[in-house]
Symmetry: C2
Subunit: 407 residues, 2 copies
């Protein structure tokens, strides 16, 4: 076997580097040289890559890498054109890979990134290029098809649920009417917002209402529901997904025009759903309202990760190398849950064609939008994924992270 190369793509997570550490360890243990591409496929096109053994030198470095949030190698949002439209770009990539004698190309990412694996794999087969392509799943959104869940999701859930438990304590401290609306990431899939539901326990009243983007959000019904709850409870805490939409498919955050902020690609930024609802409730009900957007901390809070998640993320990387060594190609690592109590999964490889660009959403029957609740199935599904803690290595009061030296 020649060398291998690994890249990271899409939005970061708190444990995406654990998968990178896994691929590196898998390669190293098999005496394979592991390259890392800088800023994913975009950087590779500029021939930006490093020999990872020059960067990750000790076992402590591996542990630090596992505990370092966001993509250590940098990331990109780069959609490969179809091979019919731009063959040069494919030829360029393959010539760069050939130059450093790459046997297998690993890409850690979500369903957009798996599209890159699919396209490169397809081209490789069509042109008989003899380079293998393997995807390692990663996304806090948990919206990848086939796999039971995705690395990164459990840690984001643990952080969200912990933070919401704390916010509930904070929000209910005064003997006065008030409403707190917490906005959680997820444009189309409400998995992460489901984490708000697991806060309910014998030391926490939990969130009072919860809304996922899979189901139409009816603003009038919502206001009525809040009014009704206020009759028996002074402090209300409500969890909403950033992507909730009304029956016309309009994002709630776009109901008030001033909330719409365009980014440099002209994409509408969805931030502002909680703010919009807080304004509307304030106008309608006149009581104190507060909007809390959990924001990017959901995907980078490596100071509070799930042990289950970080271990699975690492092992998915190691497993991906083994899959490549056994000669497989065009595959993505997936998890199959064989038991919930006790929790157990099997790792498998699965054809990338079934996964790339497919979005898995929360089953409609797990959501009760009329009552602003979710079913116990969603709670039981999430709970095993947040178990255990892996704390950062603290130096001088702050978490120590591994930093790439060359770029």
């Amino acid at each position: 076997m020649g060398n291998i190369i690994v890249g990271q793509s899409g939005g970061p997570t708190a444990v995406i580097n654990a998968s990178l550490a896994g691929v590196f360890k898998g390669g190293k243990d098999n005496n394979i040289k592991v390259y890392g591409m800088i800023n994913g496929i975009q950087g590779l096109l500029d021939e930006k890559y490093v020999d990872l053994s020059q960067e990750i030198k000790t076992d402590l470095d591996i542990e630090l890498l596992k505990r370092t949030p966001s993509a250590y190698l940098g990331s990109c949002r780069f959609k490969l054109p179809n091979m019919e439209d731009n063959e040069e770009i494919y030829e360029k990539i393959f010539s760069i890979l050939k130059k450093i004698d790459i046997d297998t190309f690993f890409y850690i990412g979500g369903n957009d990134s798996m599209d890159t694996i699919k396209k490169l794999h397809t081209y490789s087969i069509a042109k008989n290029k003899k380079i293998k392509f393997i995807g390692v799943p990663k996304t806090i959104d948990n919206d990848l098809a086939v796999t039971d869940h995705t690395p990164g999701f459990g840690s984001a859930c643990k952080y969200i649920a912990t933070t919401i438990k704390e916010i509930i304590k904070d929000a209910t401290v005064y003997d006065a009417k008030n409403i707190t609306i917490i906005e959680i990431m997820g444009r189309n899939a409400g998995w992460l917002t489901g984490a708000a539901a697991i806060t309910k326990s014998n030391d926490c009243s939990g969130v009072d209402l919860i809304y996922l983007p899979e189901v139409v959000f009816d603003i009038e019904e919502f206001i009525d529901k809040v009014k009704k709850l206020q009759k028996t409870k002074k402090s209300l805490v409500i969890a909403v997904s950033e992507g909730i939409k009304n029956k016309n498919g309009v994002n709630i955050c776009e109901l008030e025009e001033e909330n719409t902020l365009l980014d440099c690609f002209g994409h509408k930024s969805l931030s502002g759903t909680a703010n919009t609802l807080a304004r509307i409730l304030y106008k309608k009900l006149g009581c104190k309202t507060r909007a809390i957007e959990l924001n990017t901390t959901q995907r980078c809070a490596s100071h509070l990760v799930s042990e289950v998640d970080i271990n699975e993320s690492f092992l998915a990387g190691v497993y991906a190398v083994n899959v490549a060594l056994s000669g497989e190609n065009g595959k993505v690592i997936v998890f199959e849950r064989t038991s919930n109590t006790p929790y157990n999964i099997n790792m498998k490889s699965h054809n990338v064609y079934d996964i790339a660009n497919v979005e898995k959403r929360v089953p409609i029957e797990w959501i009760d939008s009329k009552n602003g609740t979710v079913s116990n199935e969603l709670i039981e599904y999430i709970k095993p994924l947040i178990q255990g803690e892996v704390y950062p290595i603290m130096v001088d009061g702050l978490p120590k992270h591994l930093k790439l030296n060359r770029y």
Copy 2:
């Protein structure tokens, strides 16, 4: 000595319950009955209080209480009228305290709460009431006079700095121009925003600009500064205090009217400074901007507290009981820093008259608004306060908190 009563007031912190645990432990160890008032002085006026020994039964309960965020007994924002204007309210309070044979009244809070201690103490002396009043400091804002720092500040700094380190990793992951603006609590005092400065270390580039409310914020100068930095750095991370104002004293978040949200008391809500700046930069520079408001998580993130801070908070509570036992009255517990390396403080008691309603701000000479930086003095002042970790007691993947049974 008779019984004692303790209350919590003002905005919660992650460690305000450690001080409550300290007062309880101090009383218990001296065989004194400790009552807790529900929702501070406001609840006391409705005769809402509990015998804390019925709630905190074991040493494990004390440890759980120390790790429970927000005010365990509930809080209030209640300004006592002057005794000349409303003597009845004072008589009512003293008659309730007499009924349960209170020797000393402890109030855990910030400078508004110390006003309550001052007024009750003054009334007690004037009317020869024989009840003592002792204040235990608490505020993440660190704006209390006389004391070197306040319990709650160190943990908030640790959380803010840790989170910003993670956000910087997240924000700098793409090879594209972007600006992240992080909004930190502090209307008039920039102590907490100073915590953003301690992120700079050999594994983190730190924040690129930092603005505190003690100094006029010049928006044109700011935009020029950002433009200049963008020439050499693609991703910029900027920390601002929620309370920064322009030369006319107008809050930056009020520059765009739609950001102003009134709460039910008609107070303007200051949230939106980062959002306002992100909008302005987007309009002027056209690149991707993101606003991150750290929000109430700054004051309730008990999952990541400073060991120094939680220990000091607890000991301040114990010390307050000792101060009362020695016969002192009308005092507030303060910290005197005797050495920075190694860090050491002495606890003392100080006359409440010097502390109530006084606001301590960051020295102007520690702030360089022209360059958007702070001095090394501020960094060295904060660093000892964030040292060490006390992690939550985790049950089923989430932090366990102590919950009041009766209310």
